[in-house]
């Protein structure tokens, strides 16, 4: 191993890959049945956390940061004057295996700038995954970012060896994409997603007939959107996410607050703050849609196209729909318990279990992990709840804000859970 050369490449190509926020290793189903190396843990594992508090689960690198395109929002764009590097297939395989054996990672997340042609690049990504699976008996997690414009044959092969495939939408709207990445078009971006979706459906059908049908991307596909690089409203972003969840069987949509790294008149100026609170609110909204039974248009609508930055979208919904409250803890159906501000999925289940044994009090809820400082305004017990007198006041939002002294901390402690599904679901 030429240590110095690898070290230099690793620095450059980890740097270039880090703006892809997804690092999830969940949804993998591979078992170590061949006495080989590794398996995947259904819920994924974070082996460490970066100093910005994000989960590190995979070795996330680019194969190369050479690129023939010039997307304005990307550090690797052609016109950017930076150091370039490229790993060989063997080098990526060696790093993955050696990091995995030491329990540093769950697997590999490999992406790349486009050099020569999309197929040329994609072929190399696939070759790495194939080598890991077939020559090294590697059953750890592999996430490949597919290259827009790659052929169907290569996509099909990628699905055989990868657990997850992703195509990053990056810019949520067509007009935004035109402005910032004029060489790419929306259709071309979406085409591989459609291909993966169809292949997943086909796999399911064939699998019912033939047990031996080889796996196809068992952890599904995901995408990422950059937030705050262009002028989209939260309504547009959430609609796009909802559309992809419904029509492309997406496992996850990631939201990445734009980090200004390049000076370009089309983009927010250097030094502009990363919109972290907004990003966090979008994750919360996403969570409401996926786990709490909310519909996209309940969260934002034409009158309110942006999420409230002061309070989370669940409180925001509750305040707009005060007539639905109070919710009776002892009798309300689970779907409504989910909608109480301050009640998470786990505590909702605890509540419906425990209430069969006895009447619950605010104290009980607190012990079950409910954020009672918020929940208390919205619930009703068998006994009288004095906090309810505030429910009909117009100042309820202010009362809630005043009481949650640590609201800023809260924002971030929520975010951490949202980004790392693991800790959130525990």
């Amino acid at each position: 191993m030429n240590y110095d050369r690898i070290k230099e490449k690793l620095e450059i190509l980890a740097d270039a890959a880090k703006y892809d926020v997804s690092c999830s290793s969940s949804g993998g189903t591979r078992k170590n049945t061949n006495k080989g190396l590794g398996n995947s843990h259904a819920s994924g594992i974070c082996h460490t956390f970066t100093e910005d508090g994000r989960c590190v689960s995979l070795l996330k690198i680019l194969l190369t940061n050479y690129c023939i395109y010039d997307c304005a929002y990307c550090v690797s764009r052609k016109s950017n004057d930076i150091q370039r590097a490229a790993f060989t297939v063997e080098e990526v395989v060696d790093l993955t295996i050696n990091f995995y054996r030491r329990n540093y990672i769950e697997g590999l997340f490999l992406s790349s700038g486009i050099f020569k042609t999309p197929d040329f690049t994609m072929e190399r990504l696939v070759r790495i995954a194939k080598k890991l699976r077939l020559e090294h008996n590697f059953n750890g997690y592999i996430h490949l970012k597919t290259i827009p414009g790659a052929s169907d044959e290569l996509m099909q092969e990628a699905g055989l060896y990868a657990d997850r495939l992703s195509v990053n939408l990056e810019i949520p709207t067509q007009s935004g994409l035109k402005l910032l990445a004029p060489e790419k078009d929306h259709k071309q971006m979406i085409k591989p997603m459609g291909f993966v979706k169809d292949a997943l459906v086909q796999y399911k059908e064939e699998r019912q007939k033939f047990k031996s049908t080889p796996k196809f991307a068992p952890a599904g596909q995901s995408t990422q959107m950059i937030i705050g690089a262009t002028q989209e409203t939260d309504l547009q972003i959430i609609k796009v996410a909802d559309h992809f969840y419904n029509n492309f069987n997406l496992k996850r949509v990631y939201y990445s607050g734009y980090v200004p790294v390049l000076s370009d008149t089309r983009l927010p100026a250097l030094g502009t703050e990363v919109p972290m609170v907004r990003e966090n609110r979008l994750y919360q909204a996403d969570w409401l849609m996926r786990f709490y039974g909310f519909k996209a248009d309940e969260i934002v609508d034409r009158q309110n196209p942006f999420l409230d930055l002061e309070v989370d979208p669940k409180i925001s919904w509750a305040l707009r729909n005060i007539d639905q409250f109070p919710i009776n803890i002892q009798q309300a159906p689970l779907e409504m318990i989910f909608r109480i501000p301050g009640v998470g999925v786990k505590s909702a289940y605890k509540i419906v279990h425990a209430r069969r044994f006895q009447s619950l009090s605010l104290e009980h809820l607190k012990k079950m992990g409910v954020a009672t400082n918020r929940a208390k305004y919205f619930i009703d017990f068998k006994i009288q709840n004095n906090h309810l007198k505030h429910l009909s006041t117009i100042h309820l939002k202010q009362i809630i804000l005043d009481e949650s002294k640590t609201k800023y901390q809260k924002t971030f402690s929520n975010q951490l859970s949202l980004l790392n599904e693991h800790s959130f679901l525990r």
């Binding site: 190396l37 398996n39 974070c46 460490t48 910005d52 508090g53 425990a354």
Partner: protein
């Protein structure tokens, strides 16, 4: 008060529970031997562990609270908390009073809630060990790691390591409790070492340091400076775990 001591095993504890009912001890208090010795208890009845008695208790419990419930009791035991016996005995009594209910679902009951808290902390600690253990390759081809968990979670991590690392020899050692698990490419065994683990770096394989450095470099470069959030970082990786983490060590 009738004080019964058992041999620090879960079977011993269940035997004691059985005998409380068998001999109808009044005001029983069950304590583990290691605590009974230095406590002020004047009169202690030592219980001799009997598998058949322990089995009868677990079968009876399984009927009511299921395998999941037994697993919760095991987690409580591994917490090594000094109140373990009192709390679980209270739950057992509560279960006998309500024989047809899965009492562990009543999170409003203080003992049930306490047990569920232990389950949570022990589960989290086990999970953290799986996540934060860092193997170091030694000259003799063994991937070695040492841990010092707050609770006795090594037994819970066996399946994780065993399923994952089947084509390499490995050893995970709990230096606080002085035992470890060792996989020799065939089976996993419990072992006790008396060697000095401090100077382990002298036994490193020649490539070991390079990969440690590469990993530390990677960790540095995958971080986005503009998003720095130390508070969140520490919340996820509390400082007491840093000693395990290659990437947190300064070279």
């Amino acid at each position: 008060m009738n004080i019964l001591s058992y041999d620090n095993t879960l079977e011993g504890f269940f035997t004691a529970v059985f005998e409380v009912y068998e001999y109808k001890y009044l005001n029983p208090k069950i304590v583990r031997q290691s605590l009974a010795q230095n406590a002020l208890f004047s009169e202690v009845t030592p219980i001799i562990t009997q598998q058949d008695k322990a089995d009868r208790v677990t079968q009876r419990l399984e009927k009511q609270i299921g395998k999941e419930g037994l697993r919760e009791i095991l987690f409580g035991f591994l917490s090594e908390n000094e109140n373990f016996e009192d709390i679980v005995f209270e739950i057992i009594k509560y279960g006998i009073e309500h024989p047809n209910q899965n009492i562990l679902k009543n999170y409003a009951h203080p003992a049930v809630l306490q047990l569920s808290k232990w389950v949570k902390s022990v589960g989290r600690e086990a999970h953290r060990m799986e996540a934060f253990v860092r193997f170091e390759l030694l000259q003799d081809g063994i991937y070695f790691a040492q841990i010092k968990p707050d609770f006795n979670v090594l037994p819970l991590t066996i399946s994780y390591f065993k399923e994952r690392y089947q084509d390499q020899k490995w050893l995970v050692y709990d230096t606080k409790r002085n035992f470890g698990i060792y996989y020799d490419l065939k089976t996993v065994e419990w072992i006790q070492l008396d060697l000095e683990i401090k100077n382990i770096t002298q036994k490193h394989d020649q490539t070991e340091r390079k990969y440690q450095h590469l990993w530390a470099e990677y960790f540095d470069h995958t971080n986005i400076k503009e998003r720095k959030n130390t508070k969140l970082h520490i919340q996820h990786v509390p400082k007491r775990y840093w000693k395990y983490l290659t990437e947190k060590r300064t070279f």
